[in-house]
Every structure is written in structure tokens, then in C-alpha cells.
Amino acid sequence: MSDVTRRTAAALAADLAAGTVTSVELTEAHLDRIAAVDTDVHAFLHVDREGALADAAESDARRARGEARGVLDGVPIAVKDVLATRGLPTTCGSKILEGWVPPYDATVVTRLREAGLPILGKTNMDEFAMGSSTEHSAYGPTHNPWDLDRIPGGSGGGSAAAVAAFEAPLAIGTDTGGSIRQPGAVTGTVGVKPTYGGVSRYGLVALANSLDQAGPVTRTVLDAAMLHDVIGGHDPRDSTSIQQEWPSFTEAATVGATGDMTGVKVGVITELAGDGWQPGVMARFQDSIDLLVQAGAEVVEVSCPSFVHALAAYYLILPAEASSNLAKFDAMRYGLRVTPEGSPSAEDVMRATRDAGFGDEVKRRIILGTYALSSGYYEAYYGQAQKIRTLISRDFDAAFGRVDVLVSPTAPTTAFKLGEKLDDPIAMYLNDLATIPANLAGVPGISVPNGLADEDGLPSGLQVLAPALADDRVYRVGAALEALHEKEWGGPLLQKAPALEGATR
């Protein structure tokens, strides 16, 4: 394995600046790593070797002229296949979009290009981001680099696995109910869901528009902060995009890395623990609470009583919005078209195409959402869910009136085995129990690696939540916790991950 793929993005940026490595060299190293391990991991749906190397060469030329566009200019990145990329296939993990090449870039992608980051390729995901295991991808599951028989989390399992398997130093994910943070937890990576509206959704193929949020997937908190500084900020093409000046997240992470937590009030959410939570996950969580206290934090228990209804509300709002978003896939303009025998009507073609093009989970949620929005049921389901959403926001408001940040384990368990929960949607949905409230309320959250569970030796995550617009706090506290941990681990948790090379399945 090339050493360069094991370095953090911050270290690579420093190497590029110092001239000890070129963007072409490190882009090539990552492409080689992908070639070596991705048959096993299957983090990528599409690798753009030529494009990435061309971008890298341009980056090197810019740097040689002294015109580097920013710290991350030349550091390669992987992008979840739910973001539109001009000239690169965008499938959302679905057959219905097989072969679709968008004529435009998502704003996040535009910003990556403008900042000079070569795009290695598009990462695997649950179809239209529906799932918690990346087993719902129409193109086959992604495997967890820690144990190839296990799931990498979902829906952004491809992005998390790419970073965990050292195929990419950075990745972009999207988080609708935890799809950045939960994969982060089970792969030992860092995942950030910014404040809703903090990163443009323009070009992000919508799952549930009021919940979706793109964000960084990285190996360290500092890397995530640096990436967030590149992709964040107001976008006039997204009317829900927040118009305010954001502080430097890189700076917040740097401040946090001193590990000093003096004066920080940390609330432990009492509802996010207990029965059904894996003992090894809870044990690591308790260890981290102790670390925070030792570092000077004041830790209190905080109750958020409405959180117990979050999952129910989420599984009404999400399918409702999704059912409307997915209506555009009608076989008329782009993507798959299945034409039945005889002289079919437009409706016949649409029916056959959707039957062949959408997977079971997508069909399940379209039906749920159509039902939840139908007249006569709207108030009973969608209306009630929106009320719960308001109550959850109030719980957050009350909690943040008492503490600076809230913490919980990111996911109730470590990575389960592929296929284990595939036939039990409810069991699958429970994985996002701890992450969903943040999406319903629009507040930011980070998942940081939190050590290995004793039972299975697999990674667990700790989630830090902050009030809307206070993303800098999640970086500060996340970086502090990371610094405290790394002293103990002697480096990032990922250094303990299997090497993979030669591990053919």
C-alpha cells in the first residue's frame, strides 16, 4: 500500500504546499488503491480515472504557477452518486437512472471543482438514499472495510467505505436521517451533517427535500472542517440556503484539537440509550463521557421526550416528500425505458419502467408516502408528523437552553452482517434512531470514531449535536474528543483497520 493513501487530507495539503508530492502522484495512488481493493469493498459505482488525473495535472500546473486555489487544491475526493456531476454518470444507486449523465453540476460539485479537488468517482449508495446498509443499491452492496461480511452503513456506505478503505482521503455524503453519521460510526470515519441550509442542495437528487443535507465524510475532524469550508455557504440557486457569513470551521477544529473542554456544557440525551443498545457501544460511549469530564467539560443528563416519536414522524415525512420527488421518473425524458409488447400507452410504458427500475424499498416508500399524503389521511399522518417535528425542535431548543452541545452514541449497534436485516425494514429503520432528530430539526451534527466495541471489535461512533447555525461547536467538541482519543489510540482509529490488500473474496 502506498503510504500516501494513509495520510489525512490536511497532511496531503501540507505535502502539496511543500512540494513533496504532486496531485497527479497522490491521485494516481488513490486510483491504484481503488483498483486494488474495490472489487472487495465496492465503494465506487463509477471511477473517473482520466478525468481525475487531468484535474490533478491542472492542479499541479496551477500550483507551479503559484496560483493554487486553496489549501485542498489537488487533494482528490469521492462523491456520493446522488449529486449531479456534469459528464459523469449519476444513478442514485437505481436502475431507473442507469447511464444518465447530467448536463450540469450540483453546486457542491461546482465548488469542489473550483477549489481544485480532482473527483475520483461516484460512490455507492442505497437506491435514492433509502436505507441504512447500502444493501438497497441496485448495483450490489458495499462491504465494510473492517469486516467484508458486514454492512458499511447507509445510505452513504460507499462514501464512508471509500474513506475507511483508504481509497479516497475525502468524500461527500448526504444525510437525510443519518446517512453520513451512521456510516461514519460503523466504519470508524468522521461524518458531518451541517445545519440544514448550510450546504447547497442544488443538484442533490432529492430524497426528502426538507431533511436532506450534504456534508463531509473524512478520516479526521480537521479534514471534515476544511472540506466544509470549501462546500458550504450561500447559494442563490437553493432558496433554502442560509444567507449568513459562516465562521471558519477549520479554525474551530484547530481550537478544539487542544483537547481543552473547560467551561463546555455537554448534555447526554437520556432517550438515546437503554434497551436495544449494544452494550459494547454503550461502554465506549461512557468512556468518552469520562474523557470529556476529565478534560474539563460539565456533563449533565438532558431529556428530550419527543425523540421517542422521531422515527415515526420521519417515516411519514420522508416517504411523502419522496413519493412526489420520484414521480418525475416516468421513462419519458431520461434514464431507463421499458416498452411492453403490443402498442402500449404512455402509462403502460411508465408502469413497466417503474416496475423494472425501482427496487422494493423505493416502491415501499412511494406507496407509504402516497398514502400519507392522500386526502382524508393527510391530517392523520403527514399533519401529525409535522406537529411532532415541531415538538422535537422545541425539545432541542429547551435542551440547548441548558447545554452547549448534546451527545449520544451515533448508532445503537456496530455494523451488522450483510443480509441480516434486509427482510425486516423496521429493524433496518431503527439504526437511524439517534441521528433522525437532528434532520427533523435542521440542527448540525458530527459523528466521530469512538473506539471498538468489546463484543465484536468493530467501530462505534459518538454523535455531537449543536443548535442550528452553531456548526463550529460540533467541530470544536468533535476535534477535542478526537484529540483525547488519539492520545490513547496512538493515532486515528482507522489505523487499526485491516489492510485489505490481497484480501480477495
Binding site: 450540469y104 442544488y202 437553493d238 433554502t240 414521480a327
Partner: protein
């Protein structure tokens, strides 16, 4: 109507047995520079799909942003219709499949329209003098987007049935529309058809005065749907209604109301019941035919559009816009009548003919008021009667009329030749100047050509010539007529008279 007359009830009999309730939904296409939710030009036509982008094509990932100018126009329309303006309102998704609609939902407003609870006082002239005023209550005016347009190729009818394939042009998709919905208009009784026509006509006049739309019915800028129901006379209830879609002229609005009243009456008198459905209006035969059945159970699964932030016009802005409204129509008419020096009769005839707006525009283009009135109520009213189209739908613009009058004023043509210019313009032969040139209509005032014609006339009419020589100057008329005949009306009559008198002095 001949083929269906036997299925209709005589109008007087309808009125004896039933009370009509009328409702009108008028769609106005705004003349904003860009579309409702993206920056594409809001001009329909041109190369198909040239004026489109990911947003108005509904491509995966693309997002809408509200056009502030369209909101401004909506507010001004609402204010001009005496509506309340919402302090806070949202867009909603109206989910249904429509081949021309790229997202398979229309972004519209549902329970939160921008303007509501208004009225318009509609003046209907009474035969033999005087006016009757009906107050039409406006339930709401809301913002929405237009759809694209399909072209069905290969069939005999141009309809989808039997076509080999269909093409869709999305240039119109996303053009801003304002839909203005009345409450049921009760108590119009026998005048219901006239009230409907007068309402649409006055609404158009208002829209033109506001400058928010071209408001041409023949071009679909202004489209009216007619809702009509009958109830047993004096019962005070509302019957089952039908909705006749896209009636495309003032005259047709009146005819469609009358037709539906007569059609409903037959069915109800026979003990039948009216099917709640949409109906199509057929301009050529003057009948309606069944469209699709539309029960109240039709489920659009409305929900608030999550990609758009709410519209919350400040009260200051609303008041500022109130200051930009055209003056009260009654006051304005009195002012115009005084300015133009029209008699009461001339003014009433102008309004009754639906020519007020046209006369205003013609005067604005430089014609004298009496001349403008003369052409629209004379030559053009005659043509509109003959062709069975409204004045506003004649293929001639106020600018053309003003130009023709200018040609009369500078003696390029005389009144008689001007009528031929009108004919040419209406026949699509080009601008007034082009018609004058191509038809060779210019008046001849050249003494050489005229002198020869005068000599011929004198030679051919020696008796008349003698009378003039004897001082009976009045007899010159006969010689002028002869010259005119020879010159096919293109002689300058004044100069001809002078030449005759000179030669016979």
C-alpha cells in the same frame, strides 16, 4: 349549434325554471423577463426547448427559486382586485401526471394563496342606455407555473390518439401564471352570460392597465375556465357544476355560459343529474363536449413545497405597490371621456364594444381620439362581427391602426384607401406601410398625372364643363368623381378640384 339545438332548452324556459350560478377561473400569463422558478426567458415560442434549464426541465437535483418580479405582479393584481395580501404564504406541490409537466407535479399555491377575499364591480350596459353593476367576489388569486406543450405527430387529428410519436416543447414550462378564481356569482339571472363576458373583458382591461401581461386571449396569455351550475328557481342552493376549460375569447365565454345553461336545463328537467366533469369548448360549432370526469375526490396530494421558503411580503412593500395601481376604473373612464371629448353615447359604445383598452392603446400610439374610436367602432367592429371574433383578437394591433391614421393625416392615403390598407393588414399582407407599397395605394397628387385625367373628364363631360364655366361650381363634384374613377380612387380630391376650376376658369 344546429346539430344540437334539439338537445337544448330554449333560453327563456331555462330562466323560468332555474337560477344559474357562475364561477370563473382566469389564468393570466405574466410578462416577466424570466420564468417563475428559474432564470430562463419567459417568452414562449422560438426553437423548441431552447429556453430551458435543469430547473424548468425538472432534471433530477434541480431546484426552484421564486421570481420576485412575479410575486410583485401577483400582489399588484391582488390589490387591483381589492384583495387582502397574505402576510405569509407558501407554495405547494400539486401532484398529478401530465405529459407536458416535467416534474409530474405543478408548483402552485393551495390553501395559502398570495391574494384573497376581493371583488370586482362589473359594469354591464343595459339596452336603451344606462348600466347595471354586478359585484363579482374574488375568492383568491394565486401564483403557479405553466406547463410545456405537446405536439403529436403522424395522426390525422393532431391529437395523441393515432399519433406515431409526440414531441414536447418545454419553453413554456415554468412561465409564471396567476390564477384568479371567483366565488359563485349568484343573482346574475338572465344576464349571466353577459356578466361572464363583461367580467373577463374588464379583467383583461385591468391586467393591461397594470402592465403585467400581454393578456391576449388568442395567444393564450389569458385563458378562462367557465364553471356553471343550475339550481331550481328560488331554491337558494348550488347545483352540480361543470367546468368548461380554456375558453379563448370574450364572445366564447358568453356563448359557453349560455350553452351550458341550456344543456344543464334539459338534463335536469328530464330528471337527470349533471355529471361533475371538465368539458371542452368548440369554437367552430359552439358546443361543449365531455372531457374527463372530475369528482371532488380527485386527489392531488398537495403538500407545502419543501424546496421553497415561504413568501412573506412586507406591509411596506405592499403599500408601496398599492401606490403603483392604475386609477379606479370609474374615475378613469370619466377622465378619459373628458380628455377625449367623447359624448356619453360615444363613450358607452366604446366600452360596450370592448374597445376601451384598444382605443387607449391606439391613442397612446399617436392617433387622435375620434379617429381611434372611428376605426375601432366602424371598420374594425364590422370586421369583428363578420368574422365572429372579438375586436381584441383581430389580427391587427393598436399600433397598426394609429399608423394607418397617420397615413391619412399626411395624405398618403385618403379614407377610402385607408379601408383597403385595413383589409391588407387583416389579411396578413404586412404592416400598413408594406400594404400601401405592395397594393400601390398611395394617393396621386402629381399635377401631370392628375391634369391628364382632368382633361379626359372635361372632354367626356362637355355639358358639365359648360355648367362650371357658367359659374355653377357645385357641378365640379361629377367631374371629380370621373377623375377618381379613372385613377381608381387614388387621386388627391382637393387638388383635382383645384385643377378643374383652374382649367375651366
Amino acid at each position: 349549434m344546429s346539430t344540437t339545438t334539439d338537445a337544448l332548452m330554449a333560453y327563456d324556459d331555462v330562466l323560468a325554471a332555474f337560477d344559474p350560478a357562475l364561477g370563473l377561473e382566469v389564468h393570466v400569463e405574466l410578462n416577466t423577463a424570466s420564468k417563475m422558478f428559474c432564470g430562463c426567458p419567459a417568452t414562449f415560442g422560438g426553437e423548441p426547448n431552447a429556453g430551458t434549464c435543469p430547473t424548468c426541465l425538472g432534471l433530477p437535483g434541480a431546484m426552484p427559486v421564486v421570481n420576485g418580479k412575479a410575486v410583485e405582479s401577483a400582489i399588484r393584481i391582488g390589490l387591483a382586485l381589492n384583495c387582502d395580501i397574505a402576510e405569509w404564504c407558501r407554495f405547494a406541490r400539486k401532484n398529478y401526471f401530465y405529459p407536458d409537466m416535467p416534474k409530474n407535479f405543478q408548483t402552485s399555491q393551495y390553501d395559502e394563496p398570495i391574494a384573497f377575499d376581493g371583488y370586482m364591480d362589473v359594469t354591464v350596459p343595459v339596452e336603451g342606455g344606462g348600466d347595471e353593476v354586478f359585484r363579482v367576489e374574488i375568492e383568491r388569486a394565486h401564483m403557479e407555473e405553466d406547463t410545456g406543450k405537446s405536439l403529436h405527430v403522424g395522426g390525422a387529428t393532431g391529437r395523441i390518439h393515432g399519433a406515431d410519436y409526440s414531441l414536447v416543447d418545454y419553453n413554456r414550462a415554468g412561465i409564471p401564471l396567476i390564477e384568479i378564481v371567483t366565488r359563485p356569482i349568484l343573482g346574475a339571472g338572465e344576464r349571466a352570460p353577459e356578466v361572464a363576458k363583461a367580467y373577463v373583458s374588464q379583467l383583461r382591461e385591468l391586467i393591461v392597465a397594470l402592465g403585467v401581461s400581454e393578456a391576449r386571449m388568442d395567444q393564450g396569455n389569458l385563458r378562462a375556465d367557465v364553471n356553471l351550475s343550475l339550481a331550481p328557481k328560488g331554491s337558494g342552493v348550488l347545483g352540480t357544476r361543470t367546468e368548461t376549460k380554456n375558453v379563448n375569447s370574450f364572445r366564447s365565454v358568453e356563448r359557453a355560459v349560455r350553452y351550458e345553461m341550456q344543456r344543464h336545463a334539459v338534463i335536469l328537467s328530464d330528471g337527470g343529474s349533471i355529471l361533475q366533469e371538465t368539458r371542452h369548448w368548440h369554437e367552430d360549432t359552439g358546443i361543449t363536449t365531455s372531457g374527463r370526469e372530475k369528482s371532488d375526490a380527485e386527489d392531488y396530494r398537495y403538500f407545502p413545497e419543501p424546496d421553497l421558503v415561504p413568501v412573506a411580503p412586507s406591509r411596506e412593500w405592499v403599500e408601496e405597490l398599492r401606490g403603483t395601481l392604475p386609477e379606479n376604473p370609474t374615475v378613469r373612464r370619466a377622465r378619459l371621456q373628458a380628455e377625449w371629448g367623447f359624448s356619453d353615447m360615444e363613450m358607452r359604445d366604446t366600452i360596450g364594444a370592448g374597445a376601451l383598452g384598444l382605443v387607449i392603446e391606439t391613442i397612446a400610439e399617436g392617433a387622435a381620439p375620434q379617429a381611434a374610436r372611428k376605426w375601432w367602432l366602424g371598420e374594425l367592429a364590422r370586421r369583428s362581427n363578420e368574422d365572429g371574433v372579438d375586436l381584441v383578437d383581430l389580427p391587427i394591433t393598436p399600433a397598426d391602426v394609429a399608423r394607418i391614421q397617420a397615413l391619412v393625416d399626411d395624405k398618403t392615403v385618403n379614407d377610402k384607401l385607408a379601408r383597403q390598407v385595413f383589409e391588407g393588414v387583416l389579411a396578413g399582407e404586412g404592416t400598413p406601410d408594406e400594404v400601401v407599397a405592395s397594393r400601390g395605394l398611395a394617393v396621386v397628387s402629381d399635377d401631370g398625372a392628375l391634369g391628364a385625367a382632368v382633361d379626359n373628364a372635361i372632354a367626356a363631360n362637355p355639358d358639365v364643363a359648360d355648367k362650371i364655366r357658367e359659374g355653377k361650381v357645385a357641378a365640379a363634384g361629377a367631374l371629380i368623381g370621373a377623375v377618381m374613377k379613372e385613377m381608381r380612387g387614388q387621386a388627391d380630391a382637393g387638388r383635382v378640384r383645384e385643377l378643374i376650376l383652374e382649367k375651366l376658369a
